[in-house]
Symmetry: C2
Subunit: 625 residues, 2 copies
């Protein structure tokens, strides 16, 4: 059986210390000179022989003559050989230009940094396998070391495969055609390699055939690469070719790991070098490489594996997972009260923004069947823990103004984590203490009042304040030019019309159902009623891409995608804030943003929003009867 050959691991090279930041020492480094390497004054004053001061006192001052038995020195300068102590300038009394008196004896080596005070020539300054810091550069130079032996940067060849792929370099020249996928996995992997201290080489895109993939792997394994990574396109075909090619050239050790995403990972050896077959979906590609590729590079660098720091959190929702495989959930984090809560992001391995938006990753092991809502679980942090303390957690109804809010909070150093589970879900999150505030637009059709009756019904025990965010136009989102001529709810049951819906619990769904009931329209006759989306934008995207002919949502979503819109109602979109969080400085900053002209102007530019009452508190109407 062929195995890894450590002689193919990176060797070492000599680099100037001034360019050695973040490199890894290949061997211990010993001081060439002591630090300091001469007896140096630690104060400004006069260097003297300590013995000459013995017997001095306030009534028996001893005289010194500059140049004869006393020499002026500044901090850091050489103490003359004849001297072994420094008297501070403040402690001498000049009698004449050249003569001064001292009234107190000094001990030998007072105010002198003696040779080797920090370290002595031949002492070890840095151990082997140390990632060199800014401080280390200083210590090396202090020790007279101008160049240092470091581990050569491991070189990683990244081979993108997939006939549907087009190179990132083509971007900016033309938009990718339908069916063409921009190859960016190797860009991400290259950055991960770079961050850990390796060098990445991205090859040309290789087409999905056994022969071309085999040839690319062979060439890479015979080059001076220390690690070869074949990054399958999203097509399963190329993964199969990769495994077959590795088997043909060497040995496949592992094909398929019990992780999700990342299952199709291949670990193999070709020409005694490690070869990784990486899955094609971007999230899978990254997570698999972090799990198998980065530790390989750390091993080559002689560094211990750096796992991410973890903290305990509470899950804001139930997270189901399958037995028999380790699942990786990307989550948003925020501190709510005395605990950090984790809101899971979508699972799709194709959704790279689930990583860009994630604050952490929850791993659920193969022997565990998911995590209950509110259960404690460890999360691996992707961000600075302080950012989590600076995050406002919103759970509730989706609106496009939340993006503006996030952006404005960002310029104040705060972050927004918003999960879109609908208005009712938002109120329930407050009940479960998993968010700082809910966004909601639940209309009580009896009274025409928003939110208060639902608050009284669902979270009567939680004292809250309600703040108006925006009033917004809801209506039908239709393709440009409204080709099917949709004007009212009656059109939704037409044979030639497909609808796209919002999930139950969403205020927009409540609004739709209210009107359907009012008009006596049978829901089961609406084609697509069961096709549910979680945001206004997703509904608009469904219309844009031809999935549906019409959906319900806000004007801004239609406008953003250049679609047409037929208004149905104007409604109030509000923030429901528990009183316990109201004084929190993050919430106060959010309200400040909300009340700013800048925010209102940006929101108005989105279209379909009223900002007259934005930021105002809304109190419940007096109960009639």
């Amino acid at each position: 059986m062929k195995r890894l050959n450590r002689s193919y691991f990176p060797g070492s090279e000599r680099v100037p210390v001034i360019r050695a930041l973040d490199r890894v020492t290949a061997a211990p480094v010993y001081a060439a000179i002591s630090s300091p390497h001469f007896h140096a004054a630690a104060m400004d004053g006069f260097a003297v022989k300590a013995l000459d001061t013995f017997g001095a006192g306030p009534d028996r001052p001893i005289r010194f003559q500059v140049g004869a038995n006393a020499w002026p020195v500044n901090t850091g300068r050489l103490v003359p050989e004849a001297a072994n102590a420094v008297i501070m300038i403040e402690d001498v009394h000049f009698i004449s230009e050249e003569i001064f008196e001292v009234e107190r004896a000094v001990v030998p080596w007072q105010h002198v940094r003696r040779v080797g005070e920090d370290f002595v020539a031949s002492e070890m300054i840095l151990p082997a396998h140390r990632r060199i810091t800014a401080y280390d550069q200083g210590a090396l130079l202090a020790g007279g070391i101008s160049a240092v032996e470091v581990v050569e940067q491991p070189s990683v060849t990244l081979i993108p495969t997939g006939t549907e792929l087009v190179p990132v370099e083509s971007l900016g020249r033309r938009a990718p055609a339908p069916g063409e996928t921009i190859e960016f996995n190797t860009v991400m992997l290259a950055s991960l390699v770079e961050r850990v201290g390796g060098r990445a080489i991205r090859t040309e895109i290789v087409e999905d055939t056994f022969d071309s993939i085999r040839a690319a792997i062979k060439e890479a394994a015979q080059s001076d690469a220390h690690l070869v990574v074949v990054n399958a396109g999203s097509s399963a075909g190329s993964e199969d070719y990769a495994a077959a090619a590795i088997r043909d050239l060497g040995e496949v050790l592992v094909h398929g790991v019990a992780m999700m995403p990342g299952k199709p990972t291949i670990l193999g050896i070709v020409d005694e070098k490690p070869v990784i077959g990486n899955p094609g979906y971007p999230v899978s590609a990254v997570l698999s490489f972090e799990l198998f590729g980065l530790p390989t590079l750390e091993l080559m660098l002689g560094l211990p594996h750096r796992s991410r720091p973890t903290i305990p959190v509470r899950s804001a929702r139930k997270i189901p997972s399958k037995l028999g495989r380790e699942e990786f959930f990307r989550v948003k984090l925020g501190r709510v009260g005395d605990r950090v809560v984790a809101a899971p992001l979508p699972r799709g391995a194709g959704s790279i923004t689930t990583l860009t938006k994630a604050d952490g990753i929850i791993r659920i092991g193969p022997l565990v069947e998911g995590v209950d809502m509110g259960a404690e679980v460890n999360v691996e942090l992707l961000r600075d823990p302080l950012d989590i303390e600076r995050t406002v957690v919103i759970i509730g109804s989706h609106d496009l103004t939340l993006d503006v809010l996030a952006d404005e909070l960002g310029s104040r150093g705060l972050f927004l984590s918003s999960s879109h589970v609908g208005s009712l879900g938002g109120l329930l999150a407050l009940k479960n203490r998993t968010s700082h505030l809910a966004t909601s637009h639940l209309l009580d059709v009896e009274t025409g009042e928003y939110n208060w009756s639902y608050i009284r019904r669902y979270i009567p025990e939680i004292p809250v304040k309600v703040i108006r965010c925006v009033s917004r136009e809801q209506g039908f989102i239709v393709p440009k030019g409204n080709p099917k001529g949709i004007k009212g709810f009656e059109d939704l049951i037409r044979d030639d019309v497909t609808f796209i819906n919002r999930q139950s619990g969403a205020g927009t769904r409540v609004l739709l159902d209210y009107h359907l009931d009012r008009l006596g329209i049978d829901r089961s006759r609406i084609k697509g009623y069961e096709l549910e989306e979680y945001t206004h934008t997703a509904v608009a995207a469904g219309v844009l891409s031809g999935v549906a002919d019409v959906g319900m949502g806000v004007l801004a979503a239609a406008k953003a995608l250049d679609l047409d819109f037929a208004p149905v109602a104007t409604e109030e979109y509000e923030l429901v804030i528990p009183e316990e969080f109201f004084a929190d400085e993050k919430i106060q900053a959010l309200l400040e943003v909300l009340r700013s002209d800048r925010f209102k102007r940006r929101v108005a530019e989105l279209g379909g929003y009223g900002v007259e009452n934005t930021g105002m508190e809304v109190t419940p109407r007096p109960m009639s009867r």
Copy 2:
């Protein structure tokens, strides 16, 4: 009054996404295309119209013809316009080459990643002020963004001043002469600038005169630098010139801050640009720049200030500090039992290795007078918290073999924190549970046995094991050729001989005092008896540099500095390990190292060490009488 001009802050520039890692977005980035931007198969199989499958069942299969109403698709590929669902390859039953049956209806959009599933064209991919990660690069490219507007890197001009300074570039050509100091502060500052995302320019060394310092600051302020840093030499003179020059050119806002080290910091403005006058001692230079320079750069980049993560620790010793100023103590950290303990490193601002060795920094505020031993205090981490869990904490007697031990543990991914407080101090640290083990060589002169009688006397309540580390030769360390002809303890009281001592509690000091008492030698007659050092190496360095004519220590220390040695005694240097830590895997790894041939060979090479019994357990002799 002149103030900062924000229009001199960094602007923005457009960079290719593939080179944008770690840059900071200057504005929100919106998707140019949706992701995916076409309906893509999420599985390998056949694309069909969902409607065509309606009514299918096990007893009522529906037939499809490839190319007519079904099209083969691989994961990630385009779903033809005529289709709106994908049937997995596993779920079709081929009747002939071109005909297959399905036995189950599929819903529209099954196994299809619809356009915009991750995000829709026009949606925000990244907010402003975001440091771009590897994942972010992927998301940008997925959104069709090939170049991104980022904040220009702030440019920092670093001006080293000090006539005693020589450039690092001169190193390697010649050793610095006495009185010459290698200028490395700006190298460290440049690396700190680089780490936070700025660009640093190190100017030539400027001599210590008002005119040349003024001219250098003026030139830098008028250049395109965004921040100017004058790094004083260690001479106080240059600091004074820096303040005067800044005042002459602009305004000094702050001169002197209540911090230690770092007191002489100057903050000023010249030509509406920030100018920092940095103190000269390397530790002061770094700490002051981290406190004032880095936040300035973060502000310019539009990033929130990243303070270091902190954890609560227990102080292994009393740390005295002065009221009225904030003191920064560098500490070693390690987990001992259920708490992390902090052992303070030396305070000297000239000792750069107090930063390279530090695991963290304890700040003691101006209103607090030090920290008691065992008190809880917060520490700012300089290292990965996991490293702390991997650290063996040794407190006790110094020996050069500890460096070898540290190096060997390092190649196993473990770290060693050793504090040298003498053998007795080591036993007391065990009592206080601030270390995993003590190093000790305390001879009971009555019995000739090492350590056990002291263990019984000082830590009777702690069950320990004693492991032999090395036997070593103690003796007189004297200059090469032994010019003063020192042969025995009687020579120490000669008029022409100066001694250098170890601190009380050190085993070597106990050995010295034992022999002085035995011979009836009056300690007060030994010149230099009161000059105490904490390590063998420091004693040897004192002899090498002429501070003393003789000191007591181990042969290896003399050999390391090429000094001569007159042996006095052979003694046993042992590890005292509480039984509660004995099974700890770090301790077991340490014992494995100790017992390895490699360790013994390396120790033997140091000279003066016996390794016959290295790694063996030493049990107490049966009590006689």
